[in-house]
Amino acid sequence: MKRKPFQNIKSRIISFLLYLVLTSISAFMVLPFVWMLSTSFKLPPDIFGFPPQIIPRNFTWDNYLFVFQERNLIRILFNTFTISSLFTLLSLFFTSMGGYGFAKFEFPMKKILFSLLLATMIIPGAVMMVPTFVIMRELGWVDTFLPLIVPGAANAFGIFFFRQYTSTINDELMDAARVDGASEFRIFIRIIMPIISPGMISLGLIFFMASWNNYLGPLIYLKSPSNWTITLAINALIGGAGLTYWGPQMAMSVISLIPLLIIFLVFQKRFAEGITAGAVKG
């Protein structure tokens, strides 16, 4: 009883310090976004003008007009969206099938095949960069979207995720369908897929995000500007020494964030599930 006032003050100080830490870290996280947004509405002289302006004194839409009119942003967004969606759909199909195969079937060499699958996860992309480019050139896939969609579509990470996810499904569901004469593929499409659809959303969000934000892949494979994705287009606005189009670059950056921001805020819980699944359960 005697110690209570002291404890009270102490816990208040602690809680004040905790909020101080959280708030300053949050400020550090938000600052680049604020400055990006602010710069995208500034005229060139104001971007590095003194004193700094958070709300631009000469507010302008010019930067946004420039990227849509001069840099064909509609086309670039269309490209990025096409690649990301096709990659996501194909990956979800292949990885859920693979995960289901490993979770619900017993077959010869299962252990060896699964170890091989896990082993491929530690191969860094750098080792594959040159030879994959050579192969893509042989296939005539350079400057098409295919190198960014096909090779990664059946990735080990996704199969691992869906193996965990499908292992909890009750076998009786499948057995009942088998008795009714349904084919294995039909069982997968009609019974398994609907059950794992929440997991598909979780992992699909991660696939979509990774593809949308990819830079190295498009840099290697997409040559003509009409095929560029958003990250290449942002990068292209740097025009040699001191000539960077900072305003348009930030306008394009803001636009590049909007789709993912909307998806993330709507599906926040699913998003976290997709990210933590491999780390914590595995």
């Binding site: 680049p32 710069t39 700094p52 480019f133 830079y215 964030l257 914590v280």
Partner: protein, 307 residues
């Protein structure tokens, strides 16, 4: 009849054919898992073997491939830029990984305590950079850190402090890069640690507190050991990450000043697609892979010994 059939089949079927039967019986399982192995064979295994072959050749990407024996590998010890890039990976690792993982775990513990109002808001804000593409992030950091009139240096000047050559000095450039990486990855690591914390029983650290441990003691003596597997996961992904940085460096520092922030991945990319030395790039890539592999194994070992 039944018995006869059974014996007959037992006698007539050698074991290889029964294995074949097993395989045939589970053909659907193979169909389901086949896309991975088909794609891996074409876009994984074949490139790796091709790369191994290329590392013993001189090849400009077009024209004749000249077999060169170990010439490429003999060049590697003298490749200063490559060793500098490996060194940079180590330096960057030491600059940002301990701070980032400590902050991530501390934030996760604070947010997990259940005493924070606005828990969701803080978690969302700290995670937000993770969904940002690193090209946009790198360039906005560059605007913030600009030498003359970037916001950071303007603020320093307003408070009468000397300005900082954020991107022009070797060590400051590494610090700036570390700031960008911490900004981008802190939320990711925090979310993973949060999920890890939810799997360990809360009463353990509470029991420690009841027994008279300070919160800081409880954190280091109870929470950290229990979180070891999750921390190891974050540590390994960060190790691989710090050697494979690409867009962050290309947009913020472009590898400079004087190669102080160049990473192995950028070096290999430059050799391959800048000067089209496909053979040498392959040799570098394999050396890099071997070293990363060794590093990961060592981290696993060290962790196992300490348990």
């Amino acid at each position: 009849m039944n018995i006869k059939k059974l014996t007959k089949s037992n006698l007539n079927k050698p074991s290889s054919s029964s294995a074949w039967k097993q395989i045939k019986k589970s053909r659907w399982a193979y169909v389901f898992i086949s896309p991975f192995y088909i794609l891996f064979a074409i876009f994984g295994l074949y490139p790796m073997l091709l790369s191994l072959y290329l590392s013993f050749t001189r090849w400009k990407g077009v024209g004749e491939m000249a077999f060169a024996g170990l010439v490429n590998f003999a060049l590697i010890p003298q490749d200063r830029v490559f060793w500098q890039s490996m060194m940079n990976g180590v330096i960057l690792f030491m600059l940002y990984v301990p701070i980032m993982l400590f902050l991530a775990l501390a934030l996760a513990v604070i947010l997990n305590s259940g005493k924070i109002k606005g828990f969701r808001v803080f978690r969302t804000i700290i995670f937000l950079p993770f969904i940002t593409n690193m090209v946009a992030a790198g360039f906005s950091f560059r605007i913030l850190l600009e030498k003359q009139n970037g916001l950071m240096n303007m603020l320093l000047r307003i408070f009468g402090l000397p300005t900082i050559p954020w991107l022009e000095n070797i060590w400051w450039a590494r610090v700036s890069l570390s700031l960008l990486i911490i900004w981008a990855w802190l939320g990711y690591n925090m979310v993973i640690m949060l999920a890890g914390l939810q799997t360990i029983p809360r009463d353990l650290s509470e029991a420690a507190l009841v027994d008279g441990a300070t919160p800081i003691q409880a954190f280091f003596r109870v929470t950290v050991p229990l979180m070891r597997p999750v921390i190891l996961f974050c540590l390994i992904t960060s190790t691989i990450g710090s050697f494979g940085l690409f867009p962050e460096v290309m947009t913020l520092t472009m590898g400079g000043p004087v190669n102080a922030t160049i990473t192995p991945l950028i070096r290999i990319y430059g050799v391959a697609f800048g000067s089209y030395q496909f053979g040498y790039a392959s040799a570098l890539a394999y050396t890099f892979f071997a070293m990363i592999f060794l590093l990961t194994v060592i981290q696993f070992r060290l962790n196992r010994e300490q348990v």
